[in-house]
Structures are given as structure tokens and as C-alpha cells.
């Protein structure tokens, strides 16, 4: 299935893009994360949470979504 992945903050610096579309097989969110870790090797050095269809999800959640977002914490003020 075709999903849209959004990258925020420092994650967009790793991927060098803020958004992309990927064709992925069905499975869990962690499966997608493995794919992304292979594609972007620096990703494993980053802290972030994952949202599916605008809702924060665990890694073992089944991929259903049209949209995935990788969200890092920000400290600045």
C-alpha cells in the first residue's frame, strides 16, 4: 500500500525531506521503521515518536494508515 510519511524537525534533517510517499507491504509500524532505518542510517541515532493518521501509536500497531509522521522532541524556547 502507498503511504505518505511526514518528517518533523531534526528528522527532516536526516531524511533531507519533509514528506515522501512509499510503497510498503502490510505489517506493523515497526516493520516500516526497519525499512526507514535501512534507507536513512542516521535515523537510529534519533529519538522520535510515530503517529499514524494523526494519532500517536506504538511500534506493534498494525499499519493501516494513509499517513505516518515521525515526531522528535524539541527543547528550544
Amino acid at each position: 500500500m502507498l503511504i505518505t510519511i511526514k518528517y518533523f524537525g531534526q528528522i527532516a534533517e536526516v531524511t533531507q525531506k519533509e514528506e515522501e510517499q512509499l510503497e510498503v507491504s502490510k505489517g506493523s509500524v515497526s516493520g516500516l521503521l526497519n525499512t526507514l532505518n535501512t534507507k536513512y542510517s542516521d535515523l537510529k541515532n534519533k529519538d522520535f515518536q510515530i503517529a499514524q493518521n494523526q494519532e500517536l501509536v506504538d511500534l506493534d500497531t498494525e499499519l493501516t494508515g494513509a499517513e505516518i509522521a515521525l515526531l522528535p522532541p524539541f527543547a528550544g524556547g
Partner: protein
């Protein structure tokens, strides 16, 4: 003409709403990029009691985004400088300045004095401290954070809603996420995010509209896009904070900013004149360094013992293994006490060095 007439003629606010604003007490953590617009709009809106806590001083590089301050504020403590400017903006309200760091020791009592807490801090350690203290004191937290061209806004801990730990359970463990002043930021961004925080504060006070509770608003200044992500309450994360509340005040803040701590060798310090040696171990710890004039300030008492520090001298801090002295230097640097160095070797090695070199130093230091 009533100062608040433009509020009062709104049917959603009216005199009743304005009275709620006048009776509200809001504490703002940090008078920086986010804190400045929050303070300005809450002051202008007539929030009856506003507290502002910040230990830092106004620097020239702050003026690119911290528009509350002017060149006449340079070198002044931010909380005090903010209070002066805000009191001029609105003398009918009470503005309380706390020119000190927020710590595990002062947070709980301070938060209890206020209805709403606004986080405008600039490091993860303070953000988790603020979040946990809000859970313990049951106060709503209006959160804002920025990174370069991106910002996040949310309302945590509001009427059993999620907390920051439900979003990010623990501070970042992996590659350090840049903190404090080491990264660039588009000057207008904290103005936008801080204004959104002020908006959430006023909605909480007035009880109108929809809050960002259970939601994280992400704003991208480059694309002008916003995304709102749903956050669920995680009971385990919140309960673990409550379970540890008895030990909360015993925790110590190791300021997370990436400050370079200057290390210095024993020989370099011994050969220098005009050095104050400071032992930051607890008083009972042995062996003492007897052949140097040493000031004893345990790390746990550092912030309350600043009067013992001789600002005219170089400060050489040591402990048992160089860890606490390094942290102590960080604390002092955060307090803008400069010329502090950590000796990585411990007290025993300093004694060995003195013995070896047969140095008995006079009390002239």
C-alpha cells in the same frame, strides 16, 4: 475608556470573563523567546497575578526574538527586566519576578501558588521537571517548544488529560538533541508559538473554545503548515511520577545545556596565583586536602553558598573523581559565574601531587 473594553464587548468574554482573567494566577517558566510573548499578552489581557522565573541575564543576541527587552535591559536579570517592562504595560496587575533557577527544591511550593503553569524553558531537564511538578501539584501546563523553523504547542495535565510524558516518556537518550542557545532559530517563530500558548492560557481561564489538551499542534514556519496529532493519556507514565513524588525534592538538576566544562591539570592550578580551590564533596568525605587553602562547598549546597565564592579569583573545583566538580562548574556557568575550572583528578591525587612535589602552599591564595 476601560482598558479591557475590546475584551468586554466580545459576547464570549464580557465583564464576567474579564473578571475571571483578573482573578487568574499564571506562572511563566523562562522569560526567553517563548516567555516574552506569553508575558506580554497575558499582561495586556489583565491576568491578575503573573509570576516569571528566570535566572539568566539579557544578552544582545536575545534581542533578535525576545521583543519584550530593549538595549536598556542588557545585562539585567530577565525576570527583573521583564517585570519592569510589564509593570509599565499594565500597573493594575501584580507581577512577581523570581530571579533564580527553577529547581526540584523550589518547584512544588512555587507551582502551588498559581492556577496555570506555562513552560517557556529551553532544555529537556527543566521541561521534565516542570511536567512532573505539574502532575504532582495537579496544575494544567501550557507547553511550547521550538526548533529552528518548527514549533510544538500543547496543553498537558488538564482535567485528567495526557502529560508530556504520555507523548515523550523520557528525556532523549540517543544523540543529544540540541538545547539552549547553541542552535539558530527564526526570530518570529517563538513569537508565533508563544502567542499560541498565551491563547491556550486565556481559553483555560475563560473556559471557552477547544483546548489543545490531548493534542500536539506542530507548526512549520517554512511551509506555514500545521499538523495536529492526537495524544492519549498513559496511566503508567503518570503514576510513576506520582509514585516518586516523595523523593522529588531530593533530585538535583544537572543543567542539560551543552556547556563546555573547562578541565585543568593539578600542576597548572598549583602554579597559578590567585586561585580559589573549592572542594565540592560532602563535608564528611575524606581525605581532606590539607596543604592548600580550600573552601568547602558541597555540590548540594552550591546554589545557596555563592557568597563563599571569590569572584576576583580563578576557581578550581575538585571532588573525588571529577564528576561532581564538572557538574558544579556547569551550575556556576549557568549562574554566569565565570572563570571556573574542574580538576579531573580527585582529592587523593591532589594530595599525592603535593607530596611528590613537596609543595606546602601558603595561605596567600
Amino acid at each position: 475608556m476601560n482598558r479591557y473594553s475590546r475584551h468586554i464587548i466580545l459576547s464570549e468574554i464580557g465583564q464576567e470573563g474579564q473578571d475571571k482573567i483578573s482573578n487568574a494566577k499564571v506562572l511563566v517558566i523562562g522569560a526567553g523567546g517563548l516567555g516574552c510573548p506569553v508575558l506580554q499578552y497575558l499582561t495586556a489581557a489583565g491576568v491578575g497575578t503573573i509570576g516569571v522565573i528566570d535566572f539568566d541575564v539579557v544578552e544582545l543576541s536575545n534581542l533578535q526574538r525576545q521583543v519584550l527587552f530593549g538595549t536598556s535591559s542588557l545585562g539585567k536579570n530577565k525576570a527583573i527586566a521583564a517585570q519592569e517592562r510589564l509593570q509599565d504595560l499594565n500597573s493594575d496587575i501584580s507581577i512577581i519576578a523570581y530571579p533564580e533557577p527553577l529547581t526540584y527544591q523550589n518547584a512544588i511550593n512555587l507551582f502551588r501558588e498559581y492556577d496555570i503553569i506555562v513552560d517557556g524553558s529551553d532544555n529537556f531537564e527543566t521541561r521534565y521537571l516542570v511536567n512532573d511538578a505539574c502532575i504532582i501539584t495537579n496544575k494544567p501546563l501550557v507547553f511550547g517548544a521550538i526548533y529552528k523553523f518548527a514549533g510544538q504547542v500543547s496543553v498537558f495535565n488538564y482535567k485528567n488529560g495526557p502529560s508530556y510524558r504520555c507523548l515523550f516518556p523520557n528525556p532523549p537518550q540517543k544523540e543529544a538533541v540540541p538545547n539552549c542557545s547553541e542552535i539558530g532559530v527564526l526570530g518570529v517563530l517563538p513569537g508565533i508559538i508563544g502567542s499560541m500558548q498565551a491563547n491556550e492560557v486565556l481559553k483555560i481561564i475563560l473556559g471557552i473554545g477547544n483546548l489543545l489538551s490531548g493534542k500536539l499542534l506542530c507548526y512549520n514556519a517554512m511551509t506555514s503548515q500545521t499538523s495536529t496529532l492526537k495524544i492519549n493519556r498513559n496511566e503508567t507514565s503518570i503514576q510513576s511520577v506520582l509514585d516518586e513524588q516523595d523523593s522529588f525534592e531530593n533530585k538535583r538538576l544537572i543543567i542539560d545545556c551543552q556547556i563546555e566544562v573547562m578541565e585543568v591539570s593539578i600542576s597548572e592550578m598549583i602554579s597559578e596565583k590567585n586561585v580559589q580551590f573549592i572542594d565540592v564533596r560532602e563535608i564528611h568525605e575524606q581525605p581532606k586536602v590539607n596543604h592548600l587553602k580550600v573552601t568547602y562547598i558541597p555540590l548540594s549546597e552550591l546554589e545557596t553558598s555563592l557568597h563563599k565564592i571569590d569572584l576576583s579569583k580563578k576557581k578550581a573545583l575538585f571532588c573525588k573523581s571529577g564528576m561532581r566538580s564538572k557538574n558544579a562548574v556547569k551550575v556556576l556557568q549557568e549562574l554566569n559565574i565565570n572563570n571556573c575550572f574542574s580538576i579531573p583528578q580527585g582529592a587523593s591525587e591532589i594530595n599525592n601531587y603535593l607530596k611528590e612535589h613537596n609543595k606546602i602552599l601558603s595561605n596567600e591564595r
